[in-house]
């Protein structure tokens, strides 16, 4: 286990370093799909649910538990598939090495973050998973790419800042007990800063998973950059936010209020993403809204678990995420394959449709298994109804996506991602999901085949399909919103206002830099400093 964990983090970094040596570059570019291979060593842990950890010199520690292993398994497979797709796509392109560099850095962080066992490692690997993505998004250098890259980078850096604040407060709360995640989380319930830590954790990781209203960057980001990159970013690296919530929300303590709020925020995101996605005409943007919706459901389940104090919620959410990792990545790869210039064969459209409806819980798909697994945690009643509504929304959204895919005119881009890539990814999703069901839930997978269960799952899909049909039949022009809707408006406002603010700061700086002002300030500082001290000392 332990060598596997380290190799998984170090191998991509080592490959990135070897890019310095020009003769090796073509080979490394060709081997992108091999970089995540050490992660396969850790695959068994997803089934056995064991727990292993190691602490290195200097307090760096790494752990492997079931939620981490589940996310890791799916992400490793997606990175391998994506890596081979990317290598093929890169063949003969200029600047291959640059793409490979950012790819490998993101890969190291994206997989490493699932096994980070202490606050510092987590922070470092999380940053590695988030920040280098910028290089992938702006790879082609177009105006839209640059804007999307800037937004993504801003979201990543601000997220880093929020998380750092949370981590420092955790360290302060657990002063003297080390920085292992387990240790600091133990101290959380007694911490005077517990509320603010929770707020920072939810906001910081919420930014990563596009929790409404922090979702504005996601449609922009997923609409730009090469599709091979978008596939891994949307499928794998977005789960850094999920593992963050899993690790840094309390496990053993029931927190009804905090949990309830997270549940509400997650459900709101789930519905919001499903509805607002319908206003988009770009299939990439639609998939992004679907991510907002799906990741929102995962957050909601974690919130429900926190409210009830159910530690099992972590594994369940990770299990549900497995399907999203590979299928979301797969659908982006489909768009890449589609752009090849051929008409998409019908069997592919059907397969894509089935897999996409898996997000809505279409029976027998991996997604349906995920929904069955978290049903107990999510609970029934009003919450259950809302989850069902989200499934209805997902159905409508995914059918909208399929219409767009069918209608899409193949672009002139000479992209060449093989259809095998996306088919492989969705197949892996289904296989993993079926084979893991009993390991995670303790219930035989046959449960999913019961007619009652199938009916219950089918209902929202049918309702959604009817709504979609009704929408299509009315033929009313649907409202169009810019990708990222209100949040993009807000970001746009900040984008326009910030140069003005920065201009103000630089003007102030220029003014202060003039000799008379600066020297005057020096003497004023002297007077204030002495006066402050003198006032404190009586007499």
């Amino acid at each position: 286990m332990i060598p596997g964990m380290l190799a998984m983090i170090v191998l991509p970094l080592a490959m990135a370093l070897l890019l310095l040596w020009a003769p090796l570059r073509p080979w490394i570019v060709r081997a992108l799909g091999l970089a995540p291979v050490p992660g396969l060593l850790l695959l068994p842990a997803a089934w056995d649910g064991g727990y292993s950890s190691v602490t290195l010199q200097g307090g760096w520690s790494y752990v492997l538990d079931q939620p981490g292993a589940l996310l890791l398994a799916a992400s490793t497979l997606l990175w391998i598939i994506g890596g081979f797709a990317a290598s093929r796509w890169l063949a003969g392109r200029r600047d291959q090495a640059r793409f490979a560099l950012w790819w490998l850095l993101t890969l190291s962080g994206s997989l490493g973050v699932f096994v980070a066992g202490d606050v510092v490692s987590f922070y470092a690997l999380y940053a590695l998973a988030s920040i280098p993505a910028y290089g992938l998004i702006v790879f082609a250098g177009g105006e839209d790419d640059l804007r999307a890259g800037r937004m993504t980078l801003a979201a990543a850096l601000i997220g880093e800042g929020l998380i750092l604040a949370a981590f420092v407060l955790l360290a302060v709360s657990a002063m003297g007990q080390g920085l292992a995640i387990a240790a600091v989380m133990n101290a959380l319930p007694q911490s005077p800063y517990a509320t603010i830590i929770l707020i920072l954790v939810v906001a910081g990781f919420g930014l990563k998973i596009g929790l409404v209203p922090l979702h504005g960057w996601m449609p922009l980001s997923y609409s730009a950059g090469p599709l091979a990159a978008t596939a891994v970013l949307s499928g794998a690296t977005s789960k850094a936010g999920i593992i963050g919530l899993i690790r840094f929300l309390p496990h053993d303590t029931a927190m009804p209020l905090a949990g309830g709020l997270i549940l509400t925020a997650g459900l709101f995101s789930a519905l919001y993403g499903a509805v607002l996605g319908l206003t988009q005409n770009n299939p990439r943007s639609v998939l992004a809204y679907s991510s907002v919706s799906q990741l929102g459901q995962m957050a909601a389940v974690l919130g429900a678990g926190l409210a009830a104090g159910m530690p099992g919620a972590d594994s369940v959410v990770a299990y549900y995420a497995v399907y999203h990792v590979l299928t979301k990545g797969g659908l982006f790869l489909l768009l890449g394959a589609q752009a090849e210039g051929r008409v998409t064969p019908t069997w592919q459209l059907v397969l894509a449709g089935v897999m996409a409806l898996g997000f809505a819980g279409l029976p027998l798909t991996g997604g349906a298994l995920g929904k069955l697994a978290f049903k107990d945690v999510a609970g029934g009643g009003a919450t259950g109804l809302l989850f069902a509504l989200a499934a209805v929304g997902s159905t409508v959204l995914m059918l909208h996506f399929l219409t767009l895919v069918r209608r899409a005119t193949p672009s002139a881009d000479r992209a060449s991602i093989s259809a095998a890539a996306w088919v492989g990814a969705v197949t892996a999703a289904t296989v993993l999901q079926w084979s893991l069901f009993s390991a995670v839930t303790g219930v035989s997978a046959a449960y999913a085949l019961k007619p009652g269960v199938i009916f219950e799952l089918l209902l929202p899909v049918v309702v959604g399909a009817l709504i979609a049909w009704a929408l299509a039949a009315t033929d009313r022009k649907r409202p169009q919103l810019p990708p990222g809707d209100i949040s993009a408006h807000a970001a746009g406002f900040i984008e326009r206002a910030s140069p003005r603010l920065a201009g103000l700061a630089t003007r102030l700086e220029t003014e202060m830099r003039r000799w008379p002002v600066s020297s005057l300030a020096l003497v004023v500082t002297l007077i204030v400093l002495v006066a402050m001290q003198a006032l404190r000392v009586p007499g």
């Binding site: 890019l19 310095l20 010199q57 200097g58 307090g59 200029r94 600047d95 090495a97 640059r98 510092v120 490692s121 922070y123 470092a124 940053a127 920040i131 910028y134 290089g135 250098g141 890259g149 980078l153 801003a154 850096l157 601000i158 880093e160 800042g161 750092l164 604040a165 420092v168 407060l169 360290a171 302060v172 002063m175 003297g176 920085l179 800063y193 920065a502 201009g503 700061a505 630089t506 102030l508 700086e509 202060m512 830099r513 003039r514 000799w515 002002v517 600066s518 020297s519 300030a521 020096l522 500082t525 002297l526 007077i527 204030v528 400093l529 002495v530 402050m532 001290q533 003198a534 404190r536």
Partner: protein, 501 residues
């Protein structure tokens, strides 16, 4: 009323090393001037090598005995004479400055060569003399315990920095040097006024004696104010940074590296020495909020200004303005009761910031110098093609940037983390927000530059080739900053060896 005498501290074994650290560069300087510039590099190499050995030996002795090294010059004890003393932080800074000076010298080795068989060259004589004088002055500032002796050290450091700034000629750099000189001399005059008042009040200039008798009377408070403000001017804390960006951007790369990494730290070191060791009872963390406020402004405004620079060297220089700001939180963050965990954390964080910034910034300035050499300019918009041509330079810049942004593993992260822990544990929310915001802004400007470096080259641009050796020097310095991040995040005992009370 003569002050009651303190127990006399005699020279310790190895104390003479401190004299060597200060005087050997001066000997080399005299030899350089006397023999002419022709043997300059040999003399400098020997002097810096001795310096490295001396600094390492001092650090080992301090660590070994867990006690400071002391040397009573001429055998005359204070208050009449001058005593040199190296505690943990002195030893640390001696090692840091010896390493960075040696690296900068190696980097500048070819640029400031004396052409064989030609008459003595100006560049060679001036640059190497200034570098030697800087070495001497820095060691003096790190070890002297006499306030007037320290004044001479401050001036020596400034006068050594001026030729490095002005060496390239041209109206811009000469103006920068003049600004620097006049503002720095203003600062030293205020400092001198402060120590005049201290002598008037206590009849001694030895820090240990002052620390033992200091009382918060009017003269002492005024003195502390003058001394502090004078040193602020020399440290270029915002808004007293008017001289720093043009001076640090105008010097040759190796010079900029030393100026940004070490020279501003000389006066900062003295400021910390004064408030923590000379007037420890005078320091009320609440009154120091003013310094923290200026530090916060430096972080925010310096970073934003860096973000908007068009020239790489100016961006790096403004990053120094911002990074200096972090160091001023220490005056508020270290609580007065010694031995406190928070105190140790803040203290260690501040010194890590000083050292990590020294290495990262030296690496970054050297990288920026190589960039300018490769492209023939340093306009940020036109940095394209660098990553393909000189990946090591880009790597050096990136790693230095990592430390400045405060991402782990790097010394910059450890420093920022510990400062944050101290700030939040004491409820200084505002300063914590500033520290975090500064990291976000640093991320923005470092990434802005990196993405330009990664871009495709503009058509028809000729890129020059630079030597592998100098690229490795820049990279090596950056890597030191990175490896510092592997230290455990807890107070470092070495930094408290020999601290007064």
């Amino acid at each position: 009323m003569p002050l009651e005498a303190l127990p006399v501290t005699d020279s310790t074994a190895g104390g003479a090393l401190l004299v060597l650290a200060i005087v050997m560069p001066a000997v080399a300087l005299v030899a350089l001037l006397g023999l002419g510039g022709r043997g300059a590099r040999t003399i400098v190499a020997a002097a810096l090598l001795v310096q490295l050995l001396v600094a390492a030996r001092v650090a080992l002795l301090v660590a070994g005995t867990q006690a400071p090294l002391v040397y009573v010059v001429g055998g005359f004890h204070p208050p009449l004479g001058i005593t040199l003393r190296a505690d943990g932080i002195s030893a640390l800074m001696m090692v840091v400055s010896a390493v960075i000076l040696a690296a900068a010298a190696a980097f500048a080795w070819k640029d400031f060569a004396q052409p064989r068989g030609k008459p003595e060259a100006r560049l060679s004589l001036i640059f190497w003399s200034a570098l030697l004088a800087m070495t001497s002055a820095l060691n003096l500032l790190f070890t002297s315990t006499d306030l007037f002796n320290l004044y001479v050290g401050l001036e020596l450091l400034t006068f050594a920095a001026i030729p490095v700034v002005a060496i390239k000629g041209g109206a811009e750099t000469v103006r920068a040097a003049l600004r620097y000189l006049l503002f720095a001399v203003f600062g030293s005059m205020l400092y001198l006024l402060g120590i005049v008042l201290i002598y008037g009040a206590y009849g001694t200039l030895a820090t240990a004696e002052i620390a033992a008798h200091v009382t918060p009377n009017a003269a002492t408070l005024a003195a502390a104010g003058f001394v502090t403000v004078g040193l602020l001017a020399k440290t270029a804390l915002f808004p007293f940074h008017l001289w720093l960006p043009p001076a640090h951007a105008g010097a040759p790369a190796a010079g900029s590296a030393v100026l940004s990494a070490l020279v501003v730290k000389g006066s900062l070191f003295l400021l910390m020495r004064l408030w923590f060791d000379t007037f420890p009872t005078l320091r009320a963390p609440d009154d120091m909020q003013l310094l923290a406020l200026l530090g916060a402004l430096a972080v925010i405004i310096g970073s934003i200004t860096a973000l908007r620079q068009q020239r790489l060297k100016l961006l790096v220089a403004y990053s120094t303005v911002a990074q200096i700001g972090y160091m001023f939180f220490v005056f508020t963050l270290v609580p007065t009761d010694a031995g406190d965990v928070i105190a140790g954390t803040a203290w260690t964080g501040a010194w890590l910031q000083v050292v990590a910034h020294a290495f990262a910034k030296a690496g970054m300035f050297l990288a920026a110098g190589l960039v300018a050499e490769i492209l023939g300019h340093d306009r940020i918009r036109e940095l394209g093609g660098l990553s393909a041509k000189a990946p090591l330079v880009v790597l050096a810049f990136a790693i230095s940037g990592l430390s400045l942004m405060g991402l782990p593993p790097s010394g910059g992260f450890s420093a920022k983390f510990m400062l944050l822990v101290a700030a939040l544990a004491e409820g200084h929310w505002l300063w914590a927000i500033v520290i975090i915001a500064g990291g976000v802004l640093a991320g923005a400007y470092v990434f802005g530059v990196l993405s330009r470096m990664m871009a495709a080259p503009a058509a028809g641009v000729e890129l020059a080739t630079v030597g592998r050796g100098r690229q490795l020097i820049a990279l090596g310095l950056a890597l030191v900053a990175l490896l510092m991040g592997l230290l455990p995040l807890s107070p470092i005992a070495f930094l408290t060896i020999g601290r007064l009370p």
